[in-house]
C-alpha cells in the first residue's frame, strides 16, 4: 500500500499530545537506538578487531604504551584530586552566597571548559619560557600536565557542585543555618554535595585519559598521544586501533562505577526542580572573600595560561600570517561546529523526550551519557575510518567528508545537549500535554507553539555550547578531516611545534577571544529568551 504525505499527516493528527507523558515501549526502543547509534563507530572498531587485542595485549602493555598508560593514570588521579579540592568549596560558596561580580566571574570561569586543553597547555609552556623556568620544573612534566588538566577539571567540579547546591531546598538551608550558623551550614552542604563533586572530579580525571594535547606539549605524553603518533606519524592503523581499544577498556572500567553512582546523583541534583532553591545570602565577609577567591581562581586557571601568549607578541605581531591561517580554517571550523551542534541538539532532545519523566529511564540515559562522554574520541574516529575503508565509494559523502567530521563530533558531544534538554523538559508541567490532549490540539501544533518556545531558552545555549566544544576538538578532527579541510584548533595543534611563538600565541588568543564571544552570546541568548518567555 502506498503511503502518501496526506496519510502521514493523518497519523500525526491521530497522535494525542498525552503520548509525551505516557509510558510506552517506544521510550525504551528510542533510548536504546539513540545510544547504540552514538556507540556504533566504536562498536564497528571493536568487532573488526575481535581477538587481535586480547592476543596482543601483553605486547602492547609491555611496550611504551603500557608506560604511557600508567603516566596517564597518574596525571588523571592528580588532576581529579586537585579539581575536587578546589572546585568543591568554590562551588559551595557560589551556590550559597551572593557577592559582587559573581555572575561575571562564574561566566569567565566557564571559559576553560570550552577552550581546547592544549591551548591552555601552550599558554603554560610559553609562560614557562618567558619566566625562564627550567624544562623539568613545576610548569612542565607530570605537575605541569596535571595543572593543565585541572584548568578543565576545577570549573567542571565547581559548576556541578553549584548546581547540586542550588538543588537543596530553601527550608533545608534555613534549618541548617538555624541549627549552627554558617560554618554548620557549610559542613552540611559539603557532606550533601560531596558525592556528586567527587564523582565529577573522577569523571574529569577519566576525560584526561583520552586527551593527548597537554601531555604532548608539556613533555609528559600519555596513552592518547601514543595513539595519535601510531596513526598520524607511523601510519599504523591496526596498532592505533588496538591501543584505542585498550584505552577505551580502561576508561570503561573506571567510568562504569562513576556512571552508575553519578547518574542518580545527577538525576536528583540537577534535574529535579520541584523545590525552590534558597536565595543567595549576602554577607559582609563573603562580599570581600568571594570576589577575592574567584579572582584568584580566574588568575590561576585562565589568566596564567593566557599570560603566556602575550610576551611573544611584544617581539612581533604576525597579524597577516595569523589572519591567513584563520581565513584558511575558519569556514571548516564553523561548518564542523554547526553540523555537530545541529545534530547533537536533535539527538539530545530526542533521547530526552524518550526518557521522559521515568526515573529509571532518566538514570539509565544519564549513565549512558556519562559513559559515552568519557570514551576516547579517537576510538569513534578510528571506527569511522574503518567503516569508510570497507564501504563502497558511493558512501563517501557520509563517511569521508566534512559531514563525517560534524557527525562524529555530534555523537561525541550530544550528551551535553541531552542533559540540557532533560533539564528543560523536567521544568515543563505534565498537565500541559494532558490539557492539549483533552482539547484535541494536534501534537505538531503543541510541539511548535508550546514545547519549542518553552525549550528554546535551554536548547539554544546547549547548541552554542556543543558548537564551542566541537570547534575545540582536535582528536576527532585530526583523524577524520579530509585533506586541506582542517579546523583552527587543528592548525594551531599542527603548527605549534615549528611555527614562531608569536604566531602560536596570536592564534591561541584569537581562538580564546572567539570562544569568549560565543560564550557571552550563549549567556545573552539564554537570559533574553527567558525574559521574553
Amino acid at each position: 500500500m502506498k503511503t502518501t504525505a496526506h496519510d502521514s499527516k493523518k497519523v500525526w493528527r491521530m497522535l494525542s499530545c498525552d503520548i509525551l507523558e505516557k509510558p510506552g515501549p517506544w521510550r525504551v526502543i528510542g533510548l536504546a537506538a539513540g545510544l547504540l547509534l552514538a556507540l556504533a563507530p566504536a562498536l564497528v572498531l571493536v568487532f573488526a578487531a575481535e581477538g587481535s587485542v586480547s592476543n596482543s595485549l601483553g605486547t602492547l602493555m609491555a611496550g611504551g604504551f603500557g608506560t604511557a598508560l600508567l603516566r596517564s593514570l597518574a596525571v588523571a588521579l592528580a588532576a581529579a584530586l586537585a579539581s575536587v579540592a578546589v572546585g568543591l568549596p568554590a562551588g559551595i560558596v557560589a551556590g550559597l552566597y551572593d557577592f559582587p561580580a559573581r555572575r561575571l566571574l562564574l561566566a569567565l570561569l566557564a571559559l576553560p571548559l570550552l577552550v581546547p586543553s592544549f591551548i591552555l597547555a601552550i599558554g603554560l609552556s610559553l609562560l614557562r619560557t618567558t619566566l625562564a623556568f627550567s624544562a623539568d620544573g613545576f610548569l612542565s612534566g607530570f605537575s605541569g600536565t596535571a595543572i593543565a588538566f585541572a584548568f578543565f577539571g576545577v570549573p567542571l567540579v565547581l559548576f556541578i557542585t553549584l548546581a547540586s547546591v542550588r538543588g537543596i531546598s530553601r527550608s533545608q538551608v534555613d534549618a541548617a543555618r538555624l541549627a549552627g550558623g554558617e560554618r554548620h551550614l557549610f559542613g552540611c552542604v559539603a557532606r550533601r554535595v560531596f558525592p556528586a563533586a567527587a564523582l565529577t572530579g573522577l569523571l574529569a580525571g577519566v576525560l584526561t585519559l583520552s586527551d593527548p594535547g597537554p601531555g604532548q606539549i608539556l613533555g609528559h605524553a600519555g596513552a592518547a598521544a601514543e595513539i595519535l603518533v601510531s596513526f598520524s606519524a607511523q601510519y599504523d592503523f591496526a596498532l592505533a586501533a588496538r591501543q584505542g581499544m585498550v584505552l577505551a577498556g580502561v576508561v570503561v572500567i573506571l567510568t562504569l562505577p562513576v556512571a552508575f553512582w553519578l547518574a542518580p546523583q545527577l538525576a536528583t541534583g540537577l534535574l529535579a526542580r520541584d523545590v525552590p532553591p534558597a536565595p543567595l545570602a549576602r554577607m559582609k565577609r563573603v562580599s570581600i572573600l568571594g570576589p577575592a577567591l574567584f579572582s584568584t581562581l580566574l588568575l590561576l586557571i585562565l589568566a596564567m595560561p593566557l599570560a603566556g601568549f602575550i610576551p611573544p607578541l611584544f617581539r612581533s605581531v604576525p597579524a597577516e600570517r595569523a589572519a591567513q591561517e584563520v581565513a584558511r580554517t575558519l569556514g571548516n571550523t564553523l561548518r564542523y561546529g554547526l553540523v555537530a551542534s545541529l545534530l547533537a541538539t536533535v539527538l539530545g532532545l530526542t533521547l530526552a523526550v524518550c526518557a521522559g519523566r521515568s526515573p529509571k529511564l532518566r538514570v539509565a540515559l544519564l549513565a549512558g551519557l556519562v559513559l559515552l562522554f568519557a570514551l576516547p574520541p579517537s576510538l569513534g574516529a578510528l571506527g569511522w575510518i574503518h567503516l569508510a575503508g570497507v564501504s563502497p565509494a558511493s558512501l563517501d559523502p557520509v563517511l569521508r567528508s566534512p559531514f563525517t567530521v560534524g557527525l562524529a563530533l555530534a555523537l561525541r558531544f550530544f550528551p551535553v545537549a541531552a542533559l540540557f534538554a532533560m533539564r528543560g523538559l523536567g521544568t515543563a508541567s505534565p498537565s500541559w500535554a494532558d490539557a492539549a490532549a483533552i482539547h484535541g490540539v494536534p501534537l505538531m501544533t503543541f510541539a511548535r507553539k508550546v514545547v519549542a518556545p518553552w525549550l528554546a531558552p535551554v536548547l539554544l545555549p546547549a547548541a552554542i555550547l556543543v558548537f564551542l566544544l566541537a570547534t575545540a576538538d582536535v582528536s576527532s578532527v585530526l583523524l577524520l578531516h579530509p585533506p586541506g579541510k582542517g579546523s583552527l584548533p587543528l592548525a594551531i595543534f599542527t603548527v605549534m611545534a615549528n611555527a614562531p611563538e608569536s604566531l602560536v600565541g596570536a592564534l591561541c588568543l584569537t581562538y580564546v577571544g572567539g570562544a569568549a564571544v560565543l560564550l557571552a552570546l550563549a549567556w545573552f541568548t539564554m537570559h533574553s529568551l527567558k525574559r521574553t518567555s
Binding site: D434, I438, G440, V441, K449, V450, S533
Partner: protein, 247 residues
C-alpha cells in the same frame, strides 16, 4: 433515560498499590457532582479515567451510552469525549497569551480563524478577564489565571466540565469570589464534576456528592442530606466543624 456517565467496577493500581477498586456510579446529564475524599484517595485518578487520560485496569466506562474505556484501553480519545477540564495547576500553556490559550484550546472545533478569536474573547469576557487577553500566564495573578483556565474550558461549550481541585492554594476571599462566579457559569453549562477534599466547596457548588475513601465509594447522594447523617470520615469531620462553628 440513559445516564451521561456510567462507571462499572472500575479499578486502578500503580504497581502494587491499588488506588481504588470496584468503583461504580452514574452521573445524569446536567448533574453537578462533587467527588469528595481525603488527599491521595484517588479522586484525581478517577477524574483522569473519566477524561480518557488514563485507562482503568478493570471495569468499563460509558459516556452517553457509548463504551469509552475498557480494561487497559481507552477506546475514545480525550478530545472526542466532548469534555473540558480545569486542572489543579491550571495547565495554562506558558508560552501563549490568555487569548491564545483559549484559541488553541478550541483546536478541535471546526471554526474559521476570525470566529475562533471572537469566541475566545467572548469566553474571556464571560470570565471577566478579557481586559488582560494579551498577557501571558506569568503576567497574571493566580486568580486571573484561574479565570483564563475556566474561560479555556468553557469556550469549547463542553457537555462535561471537570474541575480538579481548582481552588486549592487560594486564599478564602478569592476562593469565595471564584466559587460564586463558577456557580453562575456552571448553572448555564453542562454536567459538572468537581474533585475536592473540601466539603464546603462541594456544598457551595454541587447538589450531589460522592465520597471516595480507602479505595471505595463510601457514600453518595444529595450533598445536604449526606451532611445531615454523614457516614464517611470526610463528611463527619466537616459536619463536626460546622456544628462547632454554629455553637
Amino acid at each position: 433515560m440513559t445516564p451521561l456517565i456510567q462507571a462499572r467496577n472500575l479499578r486502578k493500581a500503580f504497581g502494587a498499590q491499588t488506588v481504588f477498586a470496584s468503583v461504580s456510579f452514574e452521573i445524569e446529564a446536567g448533574q453537578h457532582l462533587a467527588l469528595l475524599g481525603p488527599s491521595g484517595c484517588g479522586k484525581s485518578t478517577l477524574l483522569r479515567l473519566l477524561a480518557g487520560l488514563d485507562a482503568p485496569d478493570e471495569g468499563q466506562l460509558w459516556i452517553d451510552g457509548q463504551l469509552v474505556s475498557e480494561p487497559g484501553r481507552s477506546l475514545v480519545p480525550p478530545h472526542e469525549r466532548r469534555l473540558a477540564m480545569v486542572f489543579q495547576d491550571l495547565a495554562l500553556w506558558p508560552t501563549l497569551s490568555a487569548v491564545e490559550n483559549v484559541i488553541l484550546g478550541m483546536a478541535n472545533l471546526k471554526l474559521p480563524r476570525r470566529d475562533r478569536r471572537a469566541q475566545a474573547l467572548a469566553a474571556l469576557e464571560t470570565c471577566q478577564i478579557a481586559a488582560l487577553a494579551d498577557r501571558k500566564p506569568a503576567g497574571l495573578s493566580v486568580g486571573q489565571q484561574q479565570r483564563v483556565a475556566l474561560a479555556r474550558a468553557l469556550a469549547v461549550k463542553p457537555r462535561l466540565l471537570f474541575l480538579d481541585e481548582p481552588f486549592s492554594g487560594l486564599d478564602l476571599t478569592l476562593k469565595e469570589e471564584l466559587l460564586a462566579e463558577l456557580k453562575t457559569q456552571a448553572a448555564t453549562h453542562a454536567t459538572l464534576v468537581l474533585v475536592t477534599h473540601d466539603p464546603g466547596e462541594a456544598l457551595a457548588l454541587c447538589p450531589h456528592a460522592l465520597v471516595l475513601e480507602g479505595g471505595h465509594i463510601v457514600e453518595s447522594g444529595w450533598t445536604a442530606k449526606l451532611l445531615k447523617r454523614p457516614v464517611s470520615k470526610t463528611l463527619r469531620a466537616f459536619a463536626d466543624s460546622l456544628s462547632r462553628a454554629d455553637s
